[in-house]
């Protein structure tokens, strides 16, 4: 089961907080709006009630002339209605709706003339908002009621709520975008760290960047310690594999001497030899030092001295620009030049030439031997393949060199050489070092 991502968690949290905050803000504003609008309507209703009250005489009867004179003040609009319930008569709008009093009980119990009490009710057209005032007269209480349609409260609130809601939605969007940008920005070092760890796994780097935000700093430090411990373990394992392979060489040599040739046992011994070689080559490859810079000429002279002893009849010429250097460890350069020059000297009739350009980026080794036909050149690079049937050479040289050259980022090509034999060309794209 995958856990929710940090981004999801933080986005959800942010969305929740935003919704609650905006909801609260909307609710509060709607409440305030409602109070303001209702208050305005109540003022008008109370003014009507005051008009109605002024028409009621002390004996509870209604002064109809006065009422008619003040009718204008009562006609606020359609569905604004009023009613006077007196002990003697009832006057008012004909379709006055039934209203529910929030204070059920005998009307006479109403305390005093003020303040007017609110009432609610409904008619065929909807909600009704009303105010009621009870007057005491000599004949008994007179109940005055003024009612306004619900829409005079609802409409302004709705009209105000639409832009308000738009603003709230816009705010929510802005908050969401801000949260997303923040997250991206905050999580960017984490993404970079992930990319660097991937690079460590692919062997492209050995450690992650230690300059990290404070929260990631301990993680980076621990990661680097882990990577270093891993590398040390791996190096130790490879070294112990190499030591094992090395230690096996002598007993295997003994075995090779004691088994009869061309038997299944001899084939097994050859297999063991192959494994030893492979293991050692891999351990050596793991120890490649890519920051090396080696002068070519001294290494080439050392190797040439060895080959001069082994092949005294071969003229081995070194045409190396003075001070040419190459970004290969001296030990590995000796391995590369040794194998290639040995191979060339073994096949040459009389001459082998090694050239190195000034920047050390291109090395060529030419011989005047029979060469290798173009279609078989790839084949000789396979480990253990030899095209000649002579006894010398183990058939691993060219493959070892090709792998070693590749480890340093170079390429090895087999070509038709100018001396008539094989030309081996080593190319290093960034080979030049000084």
């Amino acid at each position: 089961m995958t856990r929710w991502s940090l981004r999801t968690r933080m986005m959800l949290l942010s969305a929740l907080v935003t919704l609650v905050a905006l909801g609260l803000a909307g609710w509060t504003m709607a409440g305030v709006l409602d109070r303001v609008v209702t208050g305005g309507v109540d003022q008008r209703l109370d003014a009507q009630l005051a008009v109605l009250a002024s028409t009621v005489r002390g004996d509870g009867s209604v002064d109809r002339d006065k009422l008619a004179a003040r009718q204008g003040a009562l006609a606020a609009g359609p569905s604004w209605r009023w009613r006077i319930d007196g002990p003697r008569e009832t006057l008012g709008s004909g379709d006055f709706p039934v209203l529910r009093s929030p204070f059920p009980g005998p009307a006479g119990a109403a305390p005093g003339p003020l303040p007017p009490a609110p009432l609610d009710g409904e008619d065929a057209k909807g909600r009704i908002h009303a105010r009621r005032l009870v007057l005491e007269s000599s004949a008994g209480p007179v109940t005055l009621t003024a009612a306004a349609p619900g829409r005079v409260i609802g409409r302004p609130i709705r009209d105000a709520l639409v832009p308000l809601a738009s603003v709230i939605v816009a705010l929510a969007l802005i908050f969401a975008i801000a949260a997303w940008v923040q997250l991206r920005f905050a999580l960017r070092p984490l993404a970079a760290l992930v990319a660097q760890i991937g690079a460590i796994r692919r062997g492209e780097r050995t450690a992650v960047d230690e300059a990290q935000p404070a929260e990631l700093q301990p993680l980076a430090t621990e990661l680097n310690a882990l990577a270093a411990a891993n590398a040390a373990t791996l190096a130790a394992a490879r070294q112990s594999a190499a030591n094992l392979a090395h230690a096996l060489k002598t007993p295997v040599a003994t075995l090779a001497l004691t088994v009869a040739p061309d038997t299944p046992e001899a084939a097994q011994v050859r297999r063991i030899e192959g494994v030893i070689r492979h293991t050692l080559a891999r351990a050596r490859a793991a120890a490649v030092n890519r920051r090396a810079s080696t002068a070519i000429a001294p290494v080439a002279r050392d190797v040439a001295a060895v080959l001069g002893t082994l092949y005294p009849a071969t003229d081995l010429r070194l045409e190396i620009v003075a001070d040419a250097r190459i970004a290969i460890d001296a030990h590995d350069l000796a391995e590369i030049l040794g194998n290639l020059l040995d191979n060339a000297a073994r096949h040459a009739r009389s001459t082998v030439v090694l050239t190195a350009a000034a920047d050390g980026a291109v090395l060529t080794i030419d011989d005047d031997g029979p060469g290798i036909p173009a279609e078989r050149r790839e084949q000789v690079l396979q480990p253990g393949v030899r095209l000649d049937e002579g006894p010398a050479g183990d058939g691993f040289g060219l493959a070892i060199v090709r792998d070693l050259v590749a480890l340093y980022g170079g390429t090895m090509a087999l070509e038709q050489g100018p001396l008539g034999g094989l030309r081996v060309r080593l190319t290093y794209p960034g080979g030049a070092t000084t």
């Binding site: 007993p251 295997v252 040599a253 003994t254 075995l255 001497l257 001295a305 030049l337 040794g338 006894p391």
Partner: protein, 223 residues
Amino acid sequence: MRILLVEDDPDLGPAIARALRAEHCAVDLAADGIDAQHLGETEAYDAAVLDLGLPGRTGAEILTAWRANGRALPVLVLTAREAWADKVTAFKAGADDYLTKPFRVEELMMRLRALVRRAAGHAQTRIECGPLAFESQTGQFELDGLPLKLTAFEWRVLSQLILRREVVIERLELLERVYEGDADVDSNSLEVIIGRLRRKIGAERIETVRGRGYRLTCGGQPA
């Protein structure tokens, strides 16, 4: 051909010695560096097979000491160290050839024969002397173009003689190059071997130079 074999491994040393003896060589086996250096400085060998990692004294030290003392015998370094850097070090110390373990005994033999032949001043692998021919790569003798069957002792004596054809080899030196260091040498046995060789290749081929030694003559037909 008498070989000094320096190898400290208790199994590999005797195994190589057996293989070399099967190829008719006389072999003295030294298992530590101090013995090896001493033997190389005091005994006469046609070649030495030298391991690099040895108790007492390393192969490179022994080799350097031999060369410093003027010992010119051909030395083949036989080691598990296959890096060219090690090879360069060994050759700088004075090695003549280098073979890494594991190896084919045929290759070791071929290289040893080539070293001995070159040390005797022969550029060609086939050495002829009258009707007699020595294929130095394989160690085969031919007489009038036909393979010549020889015992190990006969082969050792005849290979010494043909590598230095027309040259007198002192009897003592011949004895040294034919018998292993711990062999119980009967002073007459060399004469017996010479006698048998004369019967095989013709009595006039091996001359006895009184008071000095023996010489293989090629009968006015220089090869």
